[in-house]
């Protein structure tokens, strides 16, 4: 997994609540059996004027000039700003892969849907919950062209260009995995003995589960 420590980057403010996973990456792209290459299809329905599919070259499609990410000032953005309940809907990790593949490293919102939030950490992508009024402040400041933020994971702080710092919470295990870029499965397998012990005990209590 890609490690995450300090990321300083251009901010793209997506001023919508309840951005669902179908909007982040529409279902036709879920047919890919790969883990990469979803970036060009991020926010596909909003981003292009004509319909797309896995076998249509995005370069041949007409971008919607109204959409945020098609505006030159947001080119190269790596921090996404959004409103409440970001990532609601399906469990597709493809949503996180699409955001990462596009170049986003973090998304800041007042709240996230649970599965999306969980999935994010697995790909070295950081979802940050800030208070609604802090998010409001960032949206206001992001009107200024070239607005950048610094996300400091070790310090658990989002820093504005004006020097303000907003702290955020993250549980220690996830933080450790992200900062060190650890493979969670490898870590769990170090506890193989404990898992087997659980199974032995459980097999006696509830043998039908192992029949």
């Amino acid at each position: 997994m890609q490690a995450f420590t300090v990321v300083e980057g251009l901010v793209a403010p997506l001023d919508r609540a309840n951005v669902d996973t179908d909007a982040i990456i529409p279902k036709q792209y879920l047919k890919s059996i790969k883990r990469s290459g979803f970036g060009p299809f991020l926010f596909d329905d909003w981003r292009y004027l004509d319909p797309g599919d896995l076998d249509i070259d995005p370069a041949t499609r007409r971008p919607n000039p109204e959409f945020l990410l098609n505006q030159p000032r947001y080119r190269g953005a790596s921090v996404l700003l959004a409103r409440e309940n970001f990532g609601c809907g399906s469990s597709r990790e493809h949503a996180v892969w699409a955001l990462s593949d596009y170049g986003f490293r973090a998304v800041i919102a007042p709240g996230f849907a649970d599965i999306f939030f969980n999935n994010s950490f697995k790909t070295g992508f950081l979802p940050i919950v800030l208070k609604p009024e802090q998010v409001d402040t960032l949206f206001r400041e992001a009107r200024e062209e070239g607005y950048r933020l610094t996300v400091d994971l070790p310090a658990q702080t989002v820093r504005t260009p004006g020097g303000q710092g907003f702290g955020f919470d993250i549980d220690p295990f996830r933080k450790d995995c992200l900062v060190r870029g650890l493979d969670e499965i490898g870590l769990t397998l170090q506890q193989a003995g404990t898992i087997r012990a659980y199974e032995t005990r459980r097999r006696q209590e509830a043998p039908w589960l192992f029949a």
């Binding site: 609540a17 669902d20 047919k31 599965i115 499965i185 199974e199 039908w208």
Partner: protein, 472 residues
Amino acid sequence: MSTGKTPGRTLYDKLWQSHVVAEMGDGAALLYIDRHLVHEVTSPQAFDGLRLNGRKPWRLAANLAVADHNVPTTDRSQGIADPISRTQVDALDANCAEYGITEFRMSDPRQGIVHVIGPEQGATLPGMTVVCGDSHTSTHGAFGALAFGIGTSEVEHALATQTLVQKKTRSMRVTVRGRVAPGITAKDIVLAVIGRIGTAGGNGSTIEFAGEAIAALSMEGRMTVCNMAIEAGARAGLIAVDQTTIDYVKGRPFAPRGTHWDQAVAWWNTLHSDAGAQFDREVLIEAAEIKPQVTWGTSPEMVVAVDGRVPDPAQEADATRRQGMERALHYMGLSPNTPIQEIRIDKVFIGSCTNSRIEDLRAAAKLVGGKRIAASVKLALVVPGSGLVKQQAEREGLDRVFREAGFEWREPGCSMCLGMNADRLSPGERCASTSNRNFEGRQGQGGRTHLVSPAMAAAAAIAGHFVDIRTS
């Protein structure tokens, strides 16, 4: 074993505690997974991950696989026409064959939507932890099982270790007090709940549904309710085990037998929240006040009763919400204050893991009985949730009722719930759908979805617009 000796534990506490392999501090734990359901969309990258790291599934028998999202619902004798869909289904077949995981292939009569076949086979049992790379895994909570959707990395983690690192959620209880009026279904109950608490209302929580109206539901109805717990933002939905649950499970192919059965039932009978158990949040809904529900917008919380009207954003004080409503109305092609019953529809979809079980098909068929679908309805689809549901419906003659009315009777799968196969809406088309999501583009780019119960969808197919099934 946890037999509920500690007073005041919630059902969620009991399920959680009996599956903790190791505490990890800060409310997190390594949780044992009893059942892992696998489908073609979220698993290929997980199997690749296993191969890449030279790992094997930890306990093969804990897994059950089926292809559902990409399968065609028309004639299958020629295989899958769309090469990209075919690749994905082929990948599942190949991965299951390589590792030795039981799979119901497309030609198997037991094939169907993963959340229909798990319970139908008895692969979902009370007291289990059940996971699947699909958000509607919450469905299985209807059995008093801790069931939740996971992403592909967690699919790989569950395959490789039979565990997941999880954080305990908050607990919430939604009590639906009293009895619902005639004609009101599980779908109306759960849509009314989402309308009340909002699509983020359950975020970070496990919702236990309780109350007389819930206890009175069949297992099919309970699955409909828990299925949509995720649309209320919850990590999982739960309903206590009772005789209805046990009767449903008995005799199913994967269910325990003999002495195992008796042992299992003894434990299952403890799977309810103890009197005095404390929840972080309680919501009370009066069953008698629930009317047939119809969504008008692009989020399941945008819902009103069938005798209501499309709301007016001008009445909404909160700016973010107002803009959301305006955008939804624009997308849906609706004007504020339009009576719901004046909304005309182009297509009807009866199916999905929310409403494709035998009881759903019976309820819809009852409304159809002897009538024809409206001339203005371009397509009305009935897609049973599994091959076995289809067979049962055919034994009861439901397929004829639908066909004679002008419905198409299809093969099982997810179908137009999300349109990954050939079944989808065209831009601007409006659909009465028994599925669970009305997001923009969900049923096809530019398509407009109204979520309703099977009876309401059937009635709309006949009338060509929404009708109040209580009065028509």
